[in-house]
């Protein structure tokens, strides 16, 4: 996994709550056996109409997305995170995230940043009105620094934070506990086999 430390870049405002994974990447694009190249299908149906925020010149090269509450609800498709990353998005800022989406994102170096609704709204308005000015998402200090220098603290799970900072993957961590897995397997009840 690519480590995540400090991200400085343009934030694209997506003013919608409950952005579901079918919107992020419709199911017909899940017929792939690789995890690369999905950026071209990101928000495919929303972009088909033209004028979608990520396609507007002002937000070219955006690496941060600001959205409404419950971002990523719906399907467990990790393709949603892969598509965002492939497009260049490394962090999503929203008041809340669906559990599976956030979990998937963290395992791919895509940072879900949960901030209070008022802070998200402030950042959203900034991004709408002054598109070109970068903001900072700093995982080391767990802060988002807005265009005007105002900073907002966010919290990340300590384990997830350290794994993101170091670019570690879960399997490596778990395999350090192999003896415990073997011991557990030895004591599983026979009926569970």
């Amino acid at each position: 996994m690519t480590p995540f430390t400090t991200l400085i870049g343009i934030a694209a405002p997506l003013r919608a709550a409950n952005v579901d994974t079918d919107q992020i990447i419709p199911a017909r694009f899940l017929k792939t056996i690789v995890r690369t190249g999905l950026g071209r299908h990101l928000f495919a149906d929303l972009r088909a109409g033209g004028g979608f925020v990520l396609d507007r010149p002002a937000y070219a090269g955006a690496c941060i997305l600001i959205a409404g509450e419950n971002f990523g609800c719906g399907s467990s498709r990790e393709h949603a995170g892969w598509a965002l990353l492939d497009h260049g998005i490394r962090a999503v800022i929203a008041p809340s995230f669906a559990d599976i989406f956030a979990n998937n994102a963290l395992k791919n170096g895509l940072l879900p940043v949960a901030l209070p609704a008022a802070a998200c709204e402030r950042l959203m308005i900034d991004a709408e009105h002054e598109p070109g000015r970068p903001i900072t998402v700093d995982l080391l200090s767990e802060t988002v620094v807005a265009q005007n220098g105002k900073s907002y603290r966010f919290a990340t799970d300590p384990l997830r934070r350290s794994m993101l900072l170091d670019g570690l993957d879960d399997i490596g961590v778990t395999l350090r506990h192999l003896p415990a897995i073997e011991a557990y397997e030895a004591r599983r009840p026979a009926w569970t086999a």
Binding site: R28, V34, D99, I100, T174, L175, I181
Partner: protein, 471 residues
């Protein structure tokens, strides 16, 4: 942990392999269901790492998402689907994973096949790279959907890194009225608590109305727990559960059965267990439900009217509501009963089990599908299909003008040949009415099998009970 515990706590505690310094648990996984869409990238990584599958014996693979539901003997037409299915076959063969192929009578939707085969059991942890894995919680199992990275993690280690969820109980008092189903109850709950209403929580369904449900109804309820944002859905196992499980091909037998029963009887939440959140629902007041918007929480009784954005609490709410109505092609104040339909889909991991087909057939018996309306019935597995044919339900549905298909996810998600055309309006027994879910531009109304069948007959939304009066 000591003191009274919830069903969730008991399941979680029993599967902790080890605890990391920050409190994250390494949780053992007893059962892993695998399908063609979310697994190829996981197997690819295993190969690259030269890693084996730790417990192929606890894994079961079956193709379901992009299989066609007609012309099963012909080659798969869509090349990408064919490649994904061939890749699954390569992977199960290379890694020695038990597999139910497309031409096997047991093939079907993972969440129908697992319970049907006795692969899903009470007291277990069950995962699958699919959010509707919450379905299996109906057995009193801890079951939840995972992404592809976690699929890889389970294949490699048979465990997952998990933090304990908060607990929430929905107590459903009273009894559902005749003709009102678990689907209606689930939609009523989601309409009340919202699509993120149970986020971060394991959601236990309890109360008289839930106890009175058969396993199919309980599976529908837990299936839809994810649509309330829950990490898992749960129902305490009881005699109904044990009767369903007993004698299934992969269920324990003999002395193992007795040991299992003893363990399962200790699973229900202790009487004085404390939940982080509790709500109560009057199940007797729930009627047939229909969704009108593009989120499962946008559900209302079938005799309701489309809400007016002018009455929204704030600008944001007004905008969302207007957008949903524009997408759905509905007008404020329009009666749901006046909404006419192009398609009816009865199927999906939510509502494609034998009880669901029986319910649809009960309504359709002796009637005809409305002229010009396309109505599909897609059984959840080859075995459900066979049983429905043996019970005469298939013939009855076909005579009424329904198409009778082979098992698969079908029109639930628009990634196989069964999908809606832009603007097409569908009454669907599936689980998501998101924009484009059943095909780009498709308009989905979530309903129960009885309401879907009644809608197919009337060509519009009608309370199945009223349909009976009209006959």
């Amino acid at each position: 942990m000591t003191g009274p515990r919830t069903l969730y706590d008991k399941l979680f505690d029993a599967h902790v392999v080890d605890t990391l310094p920050d409190g994250t648990a390494i949780l053992y996984i007893d059962r892993h269901l695998v399908h063609e869409v979310t697994s190829p990238q996981a197997f690819e990584r295993l190969r690259a790492a030269g890693c084996r599958v730790r417990r192929p014996d606890l894994t079961l693979a079956v193709p379901d998402h992009n299989v066609p539901t007609t012309g099963r003997k012909a080659p798969i037409e869509e090349p990408e689907s064919a490649l994904q299915l061939a890749t699954l076959e390569d992977n199960v063969s290379a890694f020695g994973i038990p597999y139910i192929p497309l031409d096997d009578a047991r093939q079907g939707i993972v969440h129908v096949v697992g319970p049907e085969q006795g692969f899903s059991l009470p007291g277990l942890t069950i995962v699958c790279g699919d959010s509707h894995t919450s379905t299996h919680g109906a057995f009193g199992a801890l079951a939840f959907g995972i992404g592809t990275s976690e699929v890889e993690h389970v294949l490699a280690t048979q465990t997952l890194l998990q933090r304990r969820a908060r607990t929430m109980r929905v107590t459903c008092n009273g009894r559902l009225r005749p003709g009102v189903s678990a689907k209606d109850l689930a939609l009523a709950i989601i309409a009340r608590i919202g699509t993120a209403g149970a986020a971060g929580h394991a959601l236990e369904f309890a109360g008289e109305a839930v106890e009175a449900l058969g396993m199919e109804g309980r599976m529908t309820l837990c299936n839809l727990a994810i649509e309330a944002g829950a990490r898992a859905g749960l129902v305490a196992p009881d005699a109904v559960t044990f009767d369903y499980v007993r004698g299934r091909p992969l269920a324990p037998s003999g002395a193992h059965w007795e040991a299992a029963l003893e363990a399962w009887r200790a699973l229900p939440s202790d009487p004085d267990a404390v939940f982080d959140r509790e709500i109560e629902i009057d199940a007797g007041a729930v009627g047939p439900m229909v969704t009108w918007g593009t989120s499962p929480e946008a559900a209302m009784p079938i005799d309701g009217v489309v809400p007016d954005p002018a009455h929204a609490l704030d600008d944001a709410g007004r905008g969302q509501l207007q957008r949903a109505l524009d997408y759905m092609g509905l007008a404020p104040g329009q009666r749901l009963a006046d909404v006419t339909l192009d398609t009816v889909f009865i199927g999906s991991c939510t509502n494609a089990r034998i009880e669901d087909i029986r319910e649809a057939a009960r309504v359709a018996r002796g009637r005809r599908v409305a002229p010009g309306l396309r109505a599909l019935v897609v059984p959840g597995s080859g075995l459900v299909k066979r049983q429905a044919e043996e019970e005469g339900l298939a013939r009855l549905l076909v005579e009424a003008g329904f198409e009778w298909r082979d098992a698969g996810c079908s029109m639930c998600l628009g990634m196989n040949p069964d999908r809606l055309a832009p603007g097409e309006r569908c009454a669907s027994t599936s689980n998501r009415n998101f924009e484009g879910r059943q095909g780009p531009g498709g308009r989905t109304h979530l309903v129960s099998p009885a309401v879907a069948a009644a809608a197919a007959i009337a060509g519009r939304f009608v309370d199945p009970a009223t349909l009976e009066e009209l006959a």
